[in-house]
Subunit: 145 residues, 2 copies
């Protein structure tokens, strides 16, 4: 497993251990993680801090030039909000753990010129199927269903 | 001026008074404001709390049924991130103060079935032109330029 996807999975597992939605992300610039995070719906009552958003927030304020040379690793296919953030900041490449439990806005990302790669990781899928089985109502809330 | 757009402008003005990017929003459900907020880049060093996102965050966790009966009022045309959040949560209608200083993802919103109304408010435009004139670098950072 790629070390950055492994770091995103570690974030997702930390989220699960906290009782949260197990989705994690890391933002990588110049071969180094500059922001990492995981979904904060249960932990902080946040409706905007999906894993990807938490990683961006934890990376702090950055000039456009940094985002444009960065890669976002995330354990799950990014929803429309997180995909919009990727487009806003001009992040050129996204590596996705899996998209079988949830298909996000990958077509939109590609149409906006973002390179999208899906790893199809069993570890990522197992985290989601476990959580969705236990807390379907939280998961539905997280994706506006 | 519609009372809800006025509330969004009040939020934007509060942001300006705090030294922040003057964009404000309110989320309205059943004729009542359930969340209000303004851009928090300068105040909290946030890269995800645009005005619309701050209003959603301050509205707290809500079932999908509430979002689907809500209207988002925002002083400026929503960027791709905020438009993605609107699509994620299925908010059916957005009222925009102005879109001359910045054209967000209105076409994307409309393509997703969201009703988009632009008020073309001088007050909203004046707030942005004042801020962009004084702090162009902050504004560029806020939209990933």
């Amino acid at each position: 497993m790629d070390e950055f996807m492994q770091a995103a999975i570690d974030e997702a597992r930390q989220g699960l251990a906290e009782g949260g939605v197990p989705i994690g992300s890391v933002l990588v610039h110049d071969g180094r993680i500059i922001g990492r995070g995981h979904n904060q719906r249960q932990q902080r009552g946040s409706v905007v801090l999906h894993g990807e958003m938490d990683a961006l927030e934890n990376a702090g304020r950055r000039p456009a030039s940094v985002y444009r040379e960065s890669v976002l690793y995330t354990t799950l296919s990014p929803c429309p909000m997180c995909s919009g953030a990727i487009v806003l900041y001009g992040i050129p490449r996204v590596v996705i753990g899996e998209n079988r439990t949830f298909q996000g806005a990958e077509a939109y990302l590609r149409a906006q010129g973002v390179a999208v790669e899906v790893v199809d990781s069993n570890a990522c899928r197992d985290l989601m199927t476990t959580f969705i089985g236990r807390h379907p109502e939280v998961w539905n809330e997280d994706i506006g269903v």
